[in-house]
């Protein structure tokens, strides 16, 4: 491992200096990203500024993290029976662990393309990813094709950082269910960016299960554009990790498009999870939903910042946003910030938030039937989360999410 003595923002910039020249793609764009990142810094860490978008999340714990350049060990296979699996470790695509043939797949290192350069100046994590992205997954689903289920496994490696760049393109009427799973052990930073475009009548389901290491930081950015009658349905489940932030920008570009951004935050200890989303309605008859369900134990901290923007042409928009939280401890904290910015006059937009403990009457009802306290609590929490999992129609994916909920509950009780 190459030694980089600086930590935090300086360490990431030093990493860029070490890798500069060997990174794929346009070197001028990389330098521009580095300049932006140098000026913005990590929000809340060392020289970083706290913008409104980072009101509730501080990256101070990243300030003393180090980011060595790891020469990846070959690693062991996962022995998975799934037939379409792509494995990305610390930002590098690992061919020998991935399925040999996934239609429409190219590795990012072979086809680097960076969209969204206009946001480099305002988004420090996008700048960081653009500066350091070495690899990632490019999936192109042709018009009318259905790629079924593709698994994207991302793992972190202690003492380093990963900045994968993923590019997903769905052609007209195409279908894909992308299941992203993030795992790892130890102290690392993962900073993936997804650049997603959904064409007319296409439908992408994006399920994310984040179970990063207990000292790990996962900061994911997702930018998605949806054309007429297209659908992007996303569910992020956070069940591990020191600091996790999902920052989604979804744009409804064509009429009758639909965007669902759901979050499930299962937090314990001193974990911090931030679900920040912006849905921009630019075309009429669009539908958007942002629904976050959080179960917060111990001294954990959940954040949901949801914003709906409705531009003047986006008449008949139906926007909906809700945050529901169960606090299992009086030391846990949930911050919710809904924002509506509406310029069209014929729209339906609503938001709501609830925060509470388990219902004492429901708990007593279950116990009076002989169900022990722990089991009764677990039943009520799963009932609370069941609604969040309702839109998940694929049995295999649903079972995986339910299993994650069960494991979280067992670990917490242990």
């Amino acid at each position: 491992m190459n030694a980089i003595t600086e930590t935090g923002t300086a360490g990431l910039l030093a990493r860029y200096e070490a890798l500069r020249g060997s990174l794929p793609g346009d070197p001028a764009l990389r330098d521009a990203a580095a300049r932006a990142f140098r000026s913005l810094g990590l929000p809340g860490a060392s020289r970083g500024r706290r913008s409104e978008a980072w009101k509730y999340t501080s990256l101070a714990p990243v300030a003393d993290m180090s980011f060595g350049i790891d020469h990846l060990p070959p690693g062991h296979g996962h022995g998975t029976r799934r037939d379409q699996v792509l494995i990305v470790r610390a930002g590098q695509y690992i061919p020998h662990l991935s399925s040999p043939q996934v239609p429409g797949f190219t590795r990012f290192a072979d086809a680097p393309s960076f969209a969204m350069p206009d946001r480099l100046e305002s988004d420090p994590l996008l700048a960081l990813n653009t500066m350091l992205a070495e690899d990632g997954v490019v999936l192109t689903v042709p018009d009318g094709a259905d790629l079924g289920l593709v698994y994207l496994m991302q793992t972190g490696i202690a003492g380093t950082s990963g900045h994968p760049r993923h590019v997903i393109r769905l052609g007209q009427g195409a279908r894909l269910t992308l299941v992203e799973q993030s795992l790892g052990e130890g102290r690392y930073l993962l900073n993936p960016v997804f650049d997603i475009q959904v064409a007319e009548d296409a439908a992408l389901t994006h399920i994310r299960v984040l179970q990063d290491g207990e000292d790990a930081v996962n900061l994911t950015g997702i930018a998605v554009n949806v054309a007429a009658r297209g659908q992007y349905e996303q569910l992020t489940m956070v069940a591990e990790g020191r600091i996790t932030r999902t920052d989604i920008r979804a744009s409804i570009d064509g009429p009758q498009a639909r965007v669902h951004l759901d979050g499930v935050q299962l937090l314990k200890g001193t974990q911090h999870s931030d679900f920040t989303s912006v849905v921009r309605h630019l075309a009429p008859h669009g539908t958007s939903r942002q629904a976050v369900r959080s179960v917060l134990a111990d001294r954990s901290h959940g954040v949901f910042q949801g914003r709906i923007e409705v531009a003047r042409p986006a008449q008949k928009t139906d926007g909906y946003q809700r945050s529901s939280t169960l606090l299992l401890s009086s030391d846990a904290e949930m911050d919710t910030k809904p924002e509506l910015e509406i310029f069209a006059d014929d729209v339906k937009c609503s938001h709501g938030a609830t925060v509470g403990a388990l219902d004492a009457e429901q708990l007593f009802y279950l116990r009076s039937r002989g169900i022990p306290d722990t089991e009764a609590r677990s039943l009520l929490i799963r009932a609370f989360l069941a609604e969040a999992l309702e839109p998940v129609t694929n049995d295999e994916v649903r079972a995986m999410l339910e299993g994650t909920v069960d494991r979280w509950w067992k670990d917490r009780a242990a």
């Binding site: 004492a360 009457e361 429901q362 007593f364 009802y365 279950l366 116990r367 009076s368 039937r369 002989g370 169900i371 022990p372 306290d373 089991e375 009764a376 039943l379 009520l380 799963r382 009932a383 609370f384 989360l385 069941a386 609604e387």
Partner: protein
Amino acid sequence: MLEIRGLAASINDKPILHGIDLTVPQGEVHAIMGPNGSGKSTLAYVLSGREDYAVTAGSVSFNDRDLLDMEPEERAAAGVFLAFQAPIELPGVGNANFLRTALNALRRSRGETELDAVQFLKLARAEAKRLAMPEDMLRRNVNVGFSGGEKKRNEVLQMAILRPKLAILDETDSGLDIDALKIVADGVNALRGPDFSALVITHHQRLLDHIVPDRVHVLSAGRIVRSGGAELAKQLEKSGYAAVQAEAA
């Protein structure tokens, strides 16, 4: 089997029960009647272990065990069942899943093997049919969107499946039309036998035409002011509680 001695209880520091003495021998059905606010529901909740009620004096033993020292689930495992006056809705919890979880928890506590989904559904469907409940009530979420009568029937269904030794029916007749009342009463009567006792709490004599009690007790202002046979219920219906209260005073 159930022995209540000098039981006093309060909620939010407000005394409700002022020394209840009551014995329900094994195999008997006793009715508790009384006006609103006399403490009938408080008695039901205290016996089933609801935490917001504080027992300030007295004792309750159930099959020679100290009931007041047990958690609600331990009481259920010992055979106590409360049919709620206002059954609780559980959004997101399927009725069949709820019933099976409860039954298996009880079976576990008795050292019996748990029922799998198939075995359970067979049992549940048969019981639901006997109570003239539509089968989709097993698939729906617990009490969510149920009518008042459906909720009460769902309580009796739970009782029929969990087979308690002591059932406490808290105004199970309220909100039921006469047909539903009969179905519910039949459900209770079907459980009657040497190993089943019940405390039937009711405001009206009507239910007791169908579930004929061995004894009737009148509760007034947190005390049992009168006890008698089944005929006492009929007498109350005629003369009203005021007469009994005046007599007791």
